[in-house]
């Protein structure tokens, strides 16, 4: 195995950056949810790390990034299940590559965050166990195949590749695979689960906007790994992706708060944070194919369009609680289609020329096919998966649990000590074990009984 240490260092760093995006997302979503369900909201992101991370090692990598024989255009096989035998493999053997396992780890973090992104739509009402099952089934049947369509090729001239890859549609870091995919899956899931009790009449305000800003900041930071890391090397393409990850994001954040100022009268922190994410989403597929000025154009469009798109749910009547559809699906579509307009081989020979660079509408057409295919497959597959989980185990919590909040009912915890009646520095809560009667001398059964009470 002959590897490039500089490239390897950058990919390892990027993998860690992208993994941090999921905790960042947990704060972004957690802050927007209500105080009674913030832990559940954050838990849905964090548990995706646990489940999807294991599944990725077990068979996800293999399904997404190996040949599937006769089905190679659509899905990979199981030849590299458990990553067996990859320890000594490099992505390229001429000394420019990185260890295969470094790339596997980098891609693992993409699968994880894509699943976590969906959770924001079903805030406050999904059964936790059903969500855990969903993360595994959805990653297996939706994410791994779509990642294979877009990113896999056997690397040989005239060799095999995923069908969207072969088509020539461009998706540098995951606009279709990650954002359109998660966004439309969120829509399907919302339609299966239904609205939160009281929506849209009851106010459901974000309970902690500083958390939302913290999360947006962490997402942006991690996104440099997501986009610039997708170059697969520490090279000039990574440089382009990096600056564009700044340009589009700044523009979208600005566009969103301008729309707010003109439409609502005030620019808000939630709007700025949302604009940051919308810009990041939109530039994701395009970051290595457009000029820095092009990235600002994409950001301005994405920020303004998404600022309006998040209001659609009130008109159409679906309760996408934290606007996964309005930001990720819509932002992803904006980015994927604008590649067809703004892409230029002047910045990246591996890309293509869009409308403005004299490439005609052919690239735009390919981009549209990739978008529609992802929308259609992900929506239908997610709807079916969610329906089956709902029929088998129930996907929605009881009305009582929803009213009480999922933190206490699903996780037996509360995020904040709201107790105002304090007893000498205590919280008003009593340790269950201490509340049990003191064990009589020599009676060994009693302490055990107290311990059981805690578990109950």
């Amino acid at each position: 195995m002959k590897i490039d240490s500089g490239n390897t260092a950058w990919i390892l760093t990027s993998a860690a950056l992208v993994l941090l995006m999921t905790p960042g997302l947990a704060f972004f979503y957690g802050g927007m949810s209500r105080a009674k369900s913030v832990l559940n909201m954050m838990m849905m992101s964090f548990v995706s790390i646990a489940t999807v991370g294991m599944v990725w090692i077990a068979y996800g990598w293999s399904m997404a990034f190996t040949s599937g024989g006769g089905l190679s255009s659509f899905v990979g096989g199981f030849s590299e299940w458990g990553l067996v035998g990859l320890e000594t493999v490099a992505t390229a053997d001429d000394g420019t590559g990185i260890p295969q396992l470094a790339f596997v780890a980098f891609q693992a973090t993409f699968a994880i965050i894509t699943v976590a992104l969906i959770s924001g739509a079903v805030a406050d009402r999904a059964k936790f166990g059903a969500w855990v099952v969903f993360t595994v089934v959805w990653a297996t049947l939706v994410y791994f195949p779509i990642a294979h369509w877009v990113w896999w090729s056997d690397g040989e001239e005239g060799g095999k590749a995923g069908w969207i890859f072969e088509l020539g549609a461009l998706d540098f870091a995951g606009g279709t695979v990650v954002h359109i995919n998660a966004g439309v899956a969120a829509l399907a899931l919302v339609l299966v689960l239904g609205k939160r009790r009281g929506w849209p009449k009851e106010p459901m305000r974000p309970h902690n906007l500083p958390f939302v800003l913290l999360g947006a900041g962490l997402l942006w930071f991690g996104w440099f790994g997501f986009n610039a890391g997708s170059a697969g090397a520490a090279n000039e393409i990574a440089g382009i992706a990096f600056i564009n990850t700044i340009g589009a994001t700044c523009a979208a954040a600005f566009a969103w708060i301008v729309v707010e100022k003109l439409r609502d009268g005030s620019s808000t922190t939630l709007g700025l944070a949302s604009g940051i994410v919308a810009g990041l989403v939109a530039i994701t597929p395009a970051c290595a194919f457009v000029t820095p000025l092009g990235s600002i154009a994409i950001g301005l469009v994405a920020g303004a369009v998404c600022a309006f798109a998040v209001s659609l749910k009130y008109k159409l009547g679906y309760d996408d609680a934290l606007d996964v559809v309005g930001v990720h699906m819509v932002g992803g579509i904006v980015g994927a289609l604008l590649i067809g307009v703004l892409a230029t081989t002047a910045v990246n020979e591996g890309g293509a020329d869009g409308l403005f660079a004299g490439g005609g509408v052919s690239l735009l057409g390919k981009q549209a096919i990739a978008v529609v295919a992802t929308l259609a497959y992900s929506f239908v597959a997610t709807y079916i998966i969610a329906k089956i989980i709902d029929l088998v185990m129930g996907f929605r919590v009881s009305e009582d649990d929803e009213a009480a909040g999922l933190d206490s009912t699903a996780h037996a915890e509360t995020a904040y000590d709201f107790g105002t009646i304090r007893t000498g520095g205590g919280s008003g809560a009593t340790l269950a074990a201490a509340a049990a009667p003191a064990p009589a001398g020599g009676d060994a059964d009693k302490p055990e009984g107290a311990a059981k009470k805690v578990e109950a």
């Binding site: 305000r205 609502d264 808000t268 939630l270 709007g271 949302s274 209001s311 009130y314």
Partner: protein
């Protein structure tokens, strides 16, 4: 004896407290309260969706006083809490039959 209750704007607490101390009031109780009167609430906007926030945060001050001082103390509170803008709050007094100081068991005006 009378119990004076004042609902005031939270940022006025220090001025009211100082004024009461100057007058000679020895103790008071403050709690957080929410409510609305003519001020009503305000509107907040999250991602373009408007929310009417009806309840406005206020502070409730309670002071037990001798009946003879009640009117003066009400005056002191009203002067200190006033901003001349809507939402300044209200002050009222009710008669109190019994007061006991927990530590000593003193009752009546002695316990104030």
């Amino acid at each position: 004896m009378k119990l004076i209750t004042a609902v005031i704007k939270p940022f006025k607490l220090d001025e009211v407290k100082k004024a009461l101390e100057t007058f000679g009031v020895k103790g008071l109780t403050v709690s957080e309260a929410s409510g609305y009167g003519r001020q009503k609430g305000h509107t907040e906007v999250y991602r373009g969706a408007e929310y009417q926030v009806d309840l406005v945060p206020k502070l409730r001050i309670e002071v037990l006083v001798d009946s003879a001082d009640a009117d003066d103390i009400i005056d002191v509170i009203v002067k200190a809490a006033r901003t001349d803008k809507i939402g300044d709050g209200k002050v009222w007094a009710v008669p109190v039959d019994t007061v006991v100081r927990v530590r000593t068991g003193e009752t009546g005006p002695e316990a104030l």
